[in-house]
Amino acid sequence: MMTQGYSLNRQTAAAALLAPPLLFIGLFFIVPLINLFWVSLHGASSSELFGANLTGDNYYRILTDSFYHTIILRTLWAGMTILLLCLVLGYATAYVIAPLPPRTRLILLLLLVAPLMVSNVIRAYGWIAILGRQGVVNSLLRSTGLIDGPLLLLNSFEAVAFGLMTILLPYMVVSIVNALNAIDRQYSEAAQSLKANPVRTFIYVIWPLSSPGVASGMLLVFLLTLSAYVTITLLGGPRMKLLVSLVFDSVTAFRWPFAAALSFTLLTLALLVAGLILAVLRPARVQGRG
């Protein structure tokens, strides 16, 4: 009797706790999303938000026009490049930070996230000051006589990837540090006792056990890459556009339905890559369900 009352109370409490966020997400995310999809299935209108007729033209255009293919591929390529850079650099950094004493670790992590306290806009201008035609790098190189004319460092794929990487790296490091710290030292000792050298201990034990942290870090980095705008605009300029730039361009041209269709393309890419990350890393295996 007591336990029944208890479990009922628990359920009520759980429902009460879950209801506000669920309601919030439903009202302000799911409903608008459905609305957005509805918008994307229409043509443009000069007076209304969208035209009168239902049509798949927007998606047809995105799927057939090679311009959009280029942008989609470039977006994916940028995402992958940033992901890979963040993974390699982030894992290496985390691997060094994780075993340090808690205090040192905390100080280093705080240092690492300190740049996040500066707005992305300001940081992008910072990179412009460093990488621009009259920037620090070019001035230095010219004064040493290594180059004659200025190098075009900005408005390039590299500038965007580099700029985003510096912003997103802390997310990756923090995720992986937490995952590595959650791994009991006994696991690595058990691997060594079973004749695994340090490299194999890493490959067979540490890496799989850290996969939840790696997965969450990669999801964060990739999704933030897809939705980054300021950095791409300022460091990529008019030539290095990604999908998100096209959404903005369409909106400013009042082509709302097409912007909506591009948004859904972006969302699809995000879901596909997220699914791919989870399928490759299989973070759930740490729970021992294969």
Binding site: Y187, E189, A190, S193, N197, Y204, V205
Partner: protein
């Protein structure tokens, strides 16, 4: 053939410090091949550190570690010939039971077919053949324990290291696993080093027990040696309950006078000079309740604790607490009540002279 006189493990004057603290202090010991050797002591006595130095997870500051006469002091763990069962088992959660057991074989380059066969054999040995495809989290504590043992013995190591492996199990399971562990170890004949703070476990399982305190071995011997003939007060009280009696030596150190000189206990040999103070340990189960009038230690019963197989009597003998274990249902218990006056006697051969403190 293995040389019978060659120890499976030898620690030679090994010292390990952590900062200022000395964890292990010039420790030397030989673990004979095929024997079950326990390092027993309270936490912080250096037993786990000693085990970890055999494994190579800690490097001694001084001294040498040998496994099968090879000096492994500077050799990394994965190149040493040992296997280990960890305190919390440390089964890899992302691998199935079979993969866990075959992991070590895979690392030393055994082909798939052979390692699967050997993993199956090892799982049969611990009576878990049907669990090969499960994951560790789907197993009970006792089953995980067995998998951890299978994963270690499948390597056929020179020495098996056990770091309080039964600590995580509940009492009944623990006793069951003790029996199983012992018979498995005897069948395989693997030299085993067992670290524990549980004296009962050490007594049950071991061929040899080394009782440790403050990084040193206080006494090393067979279970009955260390239990029946403890050399000092620490060993006497750490391994089960003990009554410590004070006396003075007479007769060339061959007799101890106790109880204000009323009882004279003969010693096996001279244990000191006349007039020296000496302590004698006597186990509670060696004390007998004698009828009034018999020569012995007069005492008053303070508490009677019924434990089923035995009954513990807590007595006051002129201000000193004395403990007596009487087998349950023993005639001397009839009508016995708190506050009763009794006389405690014992066979003098069971009184063990203790050295130092």
């Amino acid at each position: 053939m293995i040389n019978a006189t060659e120890p499976a493990v030898r620690l030679s004057h090994v010292t390990k410090r952590f900062g200022q603290a000395v964890a292990v202090d010039r420790l030397s010991l030989d673990i004979p091949d095929g024997s079950f050797f326990s390092l027993l002591g309270p936490s912080g006595c250096g037993k786990t550190t000693s085990l970890r130095m055999i494994a190579g997870f800690e490097t001694p500051d001084e001294g040498d570690v040998f496994i099968r006469s090879q000096n492994v002091t500077r050799i990394v763990p994965h190149k040493r010939d040992f296997a280990m069962v960890f305190q919390n088992f440390a089964l890899f959660p992302h691998m199935s039971v079979a993969e866990n057991v075959a992991f070590g074989l895979k690392m030393i380059g055994i082909g798939r077919a052979e390692r699967e066969q050997r993993a199956r054999d090892a799982l049969s040995m611990v009576r878990l053949p049907q669990f090969a495809d499960r994951y560790p989290k789907q197993l009970s504590g006792g089953q995980q324990q067995r998998v951890a043992i299978a994963r270690a013995i499948v390597m056929r190591p020179a020495v098996l290291l056990l770091d309080e492996p039964l600590g995580a199990l509940d009492k009944n399971l623990r006793e069951e696993m003790q029996v199983e562990l012992r018979s498995l170890q005897q069948n395989l004949g693997i030299a085993t080093v067992f670290v524990t703070h549980d004296q009962e476990e050490a007594l049950t399982l071991s061929d040899t027990i080394a009782v440790m305190r403050d990084g040193r071995i206080e006494q090393c011997g067979t279970p009955s040696d260390v239990y029946e003939r403890p050399i000092n007060r620490f060993v006497a009280t750490f391994l089960g309950a003990s009554n410590v009696l004070r006396g003075k030596l007479i007769n060339g150190g061959r007799h101890a006078l106790i109880e204000a000189g009323s009882l004279s206990i003969p010693m096996e040999k001279s244990v000191g000079q006349d007039g020296d103070t000496i302590e004698l340990a006597i186990r509670p189960e060696r004390i007998i309740l004698a009828p009034q009038g018999v020569q012995g230690v007069p005492a008053i019963i303070k508490a009677i604790v019924y434990k089923g197989a035995t009954v513990s009597l807590y007595c006051d003998a002129s201000g000193e607490e004395r403990v007596v274990f009487v087998p349950g249902g023993h005639p001397s218990l009839t009508g016995l009540q708190t506050g009763a006056s009794v006389v405690l006697t014992f066979d003098p051969t069971h009184a063990v002279p203790l050295r130092g403190q």
